[in-house]
Symmetry: C2
Subunit: 138 residues, 2 copies
């Protein structure tokens, strides 16, 4: 868990800094699909002086460099997802929480037949509710 985030950033063409490492160390290891504000508040606990602009800048930078993916959830908030591999999403209608669905759990067929649309990527957004039993964080 205490990885060398400075080295990781450098590997991905991001010039490291204390602030960037602090953001990375949180956002690349969480599974909670945080918003930018959530990232800011979490990082501030360990790095109280960091500014909002730096958090936004860093998140956008990490996204450009492929370390992070961002997508938009139902009520217009952008969330960040360190799972940059292909996967689908499940949105709990009740809580708005987002869960990852493994890529292989679903199959989409006939993508080759989309006529004038040239597909570069796709994912399935599933909405519904969690079965009462197996509730946990995601």
């Amino acid at each position: 868990m205490n990885r060398d985030f400075a080295g990781l950033l450098k590997e991905h063409g991001v010039q490291p800094s204390a602030q960037r490492a602090a953001v990375a160390s949180y956002v690349l290891t969480t599974a909670e699909h945080p918003t930018a504000e959530t990232v800011w508040s979490r990082v501030k606990k360990h790095f109280p002086m960091i500014s909002r602009a730096t958090v936004y800048n860093t998140l956008n930078l990490l996204t450009r460099k492929g370390l992070l993916r961002q997508f938009v959830l139902v009520d217009g908030k952008t969330v960040f997802d360190a799972n940059v591999g292909n996967h689908h999403h499940f949105i709990d209608k009740k809580t708005g929480r987002i869960y990852d669905i493994p890529w292989d759990a679903l199959e989409v067929s006939r993508l080759e037949s989309l006529g004038r649309f040239e597909v570069s990527d796709y994912h399935v957004v599933v909405r519904g509710r969690l079965k009462s039993s197996a509730r946990r964080r995601g």
Copy 2:
């Protein structure tokens, strides 16, 4: 094209008014997946006094009444879609424009095997580019 929008609204339990009919006549007949701001600017051409709040109120009302669907596109803007039947979406990476993909054009399988996720609806978001030939508005 010059349908009786007042009657249509009434059929769906929306008390008609000139403003609501003006919004409906645009948003229910366009295929451009407009944002609320776009709706406002389009409607203002024919109805210059309409206020922003009325546009938002009407769009949300039409959505609640099932005449319209809203979803969120990549950069955090909510767009409206008069196609309330099931369909998928294609997003042109270059222009950000959204196109509808007919429901039957794609097939998603293994949705029954999602464990703790109880599916109520789903759709596929495809991203890519339009093949250079068949470019047209959507």
